[in-house]
């Protein structure tokens, strides 16, 4: 009996849950999740919920719609929160060098994987329980069958298990939590959206967009697809979820393999190794060309800017010849796409360039944000910041030198974007003139130049500013990405709610939606690409509205950039040496 109890004691799970219970972060996240869930649910609930002037019988059966919305919100919650909660489970043990201690105990690798897995799932499941009262409300309105309820909850559980297993696999593979987080999100996008994109491409290329409609089989690995068909028996639901279950087992199996094989793997230097290998090839090639170099690296020793010197001569994303290689790798396919697009003046080519610009722009913003958030935090993590701060270098000088290096990286990211926008401008010049678009080509050109010229520095300084305040790499990168994404998406979501709920009078609502949309940095570039700046909700008949919107929007973001930069520099000393300004670390009982 004692042996049996020992077998089911789960010491690692107990430790994980105890740690989670002692962290203030657990409760903060739970409250944030709950507040967001309830707020969004209240916003998307039909207007009769608070107007009450309609016939109460008409609301009967509306519960199904509410339940579907609730499930959708929960799926989004799982996709956003669970990777962040799960990706550090094994990677953190590696960072703390404590994984070896676990191997020295009686715990077997499967036991470690499963206990870590459960340790990450339990907090997420507790988040999902927050939706119980809302589910009850939806159920009370009617329209939700017991089968639909069961299938919905089963799909949610599967989504949790699948995303959790994927994140745990990344955690077992990666050396650091940050790498695990980034790879989880990238792999999740590839896993869930990859087959859908491939199918769409296949349909366009092979069947000219007229072929078979999306087949369930292709997307059966996505738990949400279980909700597509109603009236299924439990057996059928189980059968349809086979691929999801198999994928969960597969991810856990890989996590088990990686746990052992990559337990002591060094920090990934894949790109550095490839660059060094390429250095060797280049050196050999230089012999043939008589050692003529197009680009020479800067000084071998620092002048008066040691931080910038080190970043520019020692870091992969600071060295000029490495940056040029990265640029070439990005630029060559983009030039190919642009050349392909310019062959024909078909309007679809312009759309293809817009999509390319959107993808490259998104990746550029994310890469820049991660790099900028990490730049100061890396000094903290390496424990070199404290020593730097006792030199006569001011905190402002440190930040300025770091920002100078980021500018190089920014240029490398800006060139491909400008290439795409340049090609698109040539196309738009003809198209807009031909079709008599009200957003003229000049507006387009000015808008894209301002987008690149203001947005990239804005993202860079915003993320740098966030990184100044943070103490760990994980927090800095996660916060910077969250702020950038939230800033882009939230105004659009709010605008959609205002529109859907029919809040305010018709005329004012239009203006309100327009203003809310403009608060998102995505709105103006997107409207510019779609040639619909003059159609912004609420301002359709205003003469010269396209110019007004471009000027107003970029003046706003330019001013914001100026303010953030000034704030970051003015308060750099306060952020870097908070203790020297009287701010104390939280007491050791609270892990933040």
């Amino acid at each position: 009996m004692t042996a049996l109890l020992r077998y089911f004691s789960f010491p690692l799970l107990a430790k994980e849950l105890t740690e989670a219970a002692a962290r203030r972060r657990t409760y903060v996240l739970r409250v944030v999740y709950g507040v967001l869930l309830f707020a969004v649910f209240a916003m998307i609930s039909p207007r009769w919920l608070w107007r009450g002037s309609m016939d109460p019988f008409s609301v009967m059966g509306q519960g199904r719609w509410m339940f579907s919305s609730l499930l959708a919100l929960q799926f989004i919650g799982i996709a956003l929160f669970l990777p962040a909660m799960m990706c550090g489970r094994i990677a953190e043990e590696k960072e703390r060098d404590s994984l070896v201690l676990l191997f020295l105990t009686d715990l077997r690798p499967w036991s470690i994987v499963l206990q870590k897995y459960l340790g990450g799932l339990v907090p997420m499941l507790s988040f999902l329980l927050l939706a119980m009262p809302l589910t009850a409300v939806a159920y009370a309105f009617g329209g939700v069958t017991t089968e639909a309820l069961g299938t919905g909850l089963y799909a949610l559980l599967l989504a949790c298990l699948q995303v959790g297993a994927l994140a745990l696999m990344c955690s077992a593979w990666c050396r650091t939590t940050v790498a695990a987080l980034v790879s989880t999100y990238l792999l999740a996008v590839a896993f869930y959206l990859g087959p859908i994109c491939l199918f769409a491409l296949f349909r366009i290329v092979v069947f000219q967009n007229l072929g078979p409609s999306p087949d369930d089989f292709i997307f059966s690995h996505v738990p949400v697809m279980l909700l597509e068909k109603s009236g299924l028996t439990p057996g059928e639901v189980l059968l349809r979820s086979t691929s999801v279950l198999l994928s969960i087992v597969f991810f856990l199996l890989l996590a088990r393999v990686f746990l052992v094989r990559r337990a002591f793997a060094p920090a990934s230097t894949f790109f550095v190794r490839q660059f060094r290998r390429l250095d060797g090839v280049m050196h050999l090639a230089n012999r043939l060309t008589g050692h003529r170099m197009l680009l020479r690296e800067g000084r071998t020793l620092p002048d008066d800017d040691p931080i910038a010197w080190r970043e520019m001569t020692r870091k992969t994303l600071g060295k000029i010849h490495y940056l040029v290689r990265i640029l070439v790798v990005i630029e060559v396919p983009i030039v190919g796409i642009c050349a392909f697009a310019s062959v024909d003046e078909y309007i679809g080519q312009s759309i293809m360039l817009s999509v390319t610009a959107a993808i490259v722009g998104t990746l550029a913003v994310l890469a820049l944000s991660v790099q900028a958030a990490n730049t100061i935090v890396s000094e903290r993590v390496q424990q070199t910041l404290e020593v730097l701060l006792t030199t006569p270098l001011t905190a402002r000088e440190i930040v300025v030198q770091k920002a100078r290096v980021l500018r190089r990286f920014m240029f490398v990211l800006a060139i491909p974007l400008l290439t795409i926008f340049g090609s698109e401008s040539c196309l738009e010049w003809d198209l807009r003139a031909r079709y008599g678009e009200r957003d003229g080509p000049v507006v387009y050109l000015v808008c894209v130049l301002l987008t690149v010229g203001i947005y990239l520095p804005l993202v860079s300084w915003l993320s740098l500013w966030i990184g100044l305040k943070m103490r760990t790499r994980f927090k800095a990168i996660l916060t910077a990405l969250a702020v950038v994404v939230a800033w882009c998406v939230l105004p659009i979501v709010c605008a959609a709610f205002v529109e859907n709920l029919g809040l305010f009078g018709y005329g004012f609502r239009g203006k309100m939606v327009g203003v809310l949309l403009l608060l998102s940095p995505l709105a103006v570039p997107a409207a510019n690409e779609l040639s619909s700046l003059h159609q912004v909700e609420g301002f359709r008949n205003t003469p010269g509205i396209a110019w007004i919107i471009v000027a107003g929007s970029f003046t706003f973001y330019g001013a914001l950039l100026f303010l953030i930069r000034r704030r970051a520099l003015a308060r750099a000393d306060r952020y870097l040496r908070p203790e020297a300004h009287g701010k104390r670390e939280p007491s050791e009982t609270f892990e933040y």
């Binding site: 424990q383 006792t390 006569p392 270098l393 040496r577 300004h581």
Partner: protein, 324 residues
């Protein structure tokens, strides 16, 4: 009109290089440093001793301009560290208890990096770096990657770094921490050399007997309070007030022990199986007089051994191992 009689001007006492006055540091509810006050003259080597969590690192961080005192103040060369932090940084060299490395630099590049950070003119740097590397016995590691150096060498490189701008005050937080015996000895010799060069040094350490070999002054802190401060001799003298003397008698009886207990200036006698541990007020009666007095009582003395007062004994006597 009588001319004022010229008087011989008295030499004013030299102002201390470091002056800490009623320093208090709080971290939330934790009172890490409680009313710490001490002064350090130029050229002194001040050993800062205390158990973990006693407040040593916090005090050193205040002097290094990294931490603001909750109350009280600290002066370096007359400059308030909280107000004139930038000027103070030119006068100090701070070596933390960890060695933050730039993995991607060589030893000379590392020093060039910090020479630039200290704004030393480019023309002077090469010679200066050669000098500090020679002083720290790292000349042959000029082009060696920092990451490949042993821990002891990294510590010495750290010391070379803090010497670059020729600071008046060196703040060394646990410089011998984690070093092997050879590296510790090398570090100790290096500190002695710096002492000979006239540097003022504040050094915290747990290796007590090593501090005793070159520290001119010692400050022992516990729970954020200074429990002893002064030269080694002062501290030993202060602690010797109740020296324990181990006495072994060939004719030990309870009556004889009682007679010894009744002797003047003896504060207690602990009867142990093979000896008596006699507590003596040494400032009022010397150990030699006690020997005579015990002999006069008819005792046949087999062993008479005053407790040795070394650094570790002093530390153990003064502290209780509690943290703030």
């Amino acid at each position: 009109m009588n001319e004022p009689t010229p008087t011989t001007p008295e030499t004013p006492p030299a102002a201390p290089l470091v002056s800490v006055e009623n320093l208090n540091i709080r971290y939330g509810k934790t009172h890490a440093v409680r009313g710490l006050s001490f002064g350090i003259q130029r050229g002194e080597v001040f050993g800062f001793i205390g158990p973990n969590g006693a407040g040593k690192t916090s005090t050193i961080k205040v002097l290094a301009t990294l931490l603001k005192p909750t109350t009280g103040r600290a002066l370096v060369a007359g400059l308030d560290v909280a107000i004139e932090a930038h000027a103070v940084r030119r006068k100090i060299g701070y070596m933390p208890d960890f060695f933050g490395v730039y993995d991607d630099l060589t030893a000379s590049e590392y020093l060039h990096f910090f020479a630039a950070a200290y704004k030393i003119p480019s023309a002077k740097r090469r010679a200066l770096i050669g000098d500090v590397l020679a002083l720290t016995d790292l000349t042959e590691k000029y082009d060696a990657p920092v990451d490949g150096l042993s821990r002891g060498m990294k510590q010495r490189l750290g010391l070379a770094r803090v010497l670059l701008h020729d600071p008046e005050l060196l703040l060394l937080d646990e410089p011998a921490s984690g070093l092997d015996p050879r590296a510790r000895i090398e570090m100790r010799e290096l500190l002695k050399e710096l002492q000979r060069l006239g540097k003022t040094i504040i050094v915290s350490s747990h290796i007590l007997h090593e501090l005793a070999q070159f520290c001119s002054h010692i400050g022992i802190v516990e729970r954020g309070e200074m429990v002893a401060n002064g030269s080694l001799a002062d501290i030993y003298r202060a602690l010797s007030l109740r020296r324990t003397i181990h006495v072994q008698l060939a004719n030990q009886t309870p009556e004889l022990a009682a007679k010894i207990r009744a002797l003047p200036h003896v504060t207690g006698v602990d009867e142990q199986p093979d000896r008596l541990a006699v507590q003596l007020r040494e400032d009022e009666m010397s150990a030699e007089d006690l020997l005579d007095a015990i002999h006069a009582l008819g005792a046949r003395i087999r062993m008479f051994q005053p407790d040795a007062m070394d650094m570790e004994t002093a530390f153990m006597k003064l502290t209780e191992g509690r943290t703030a």
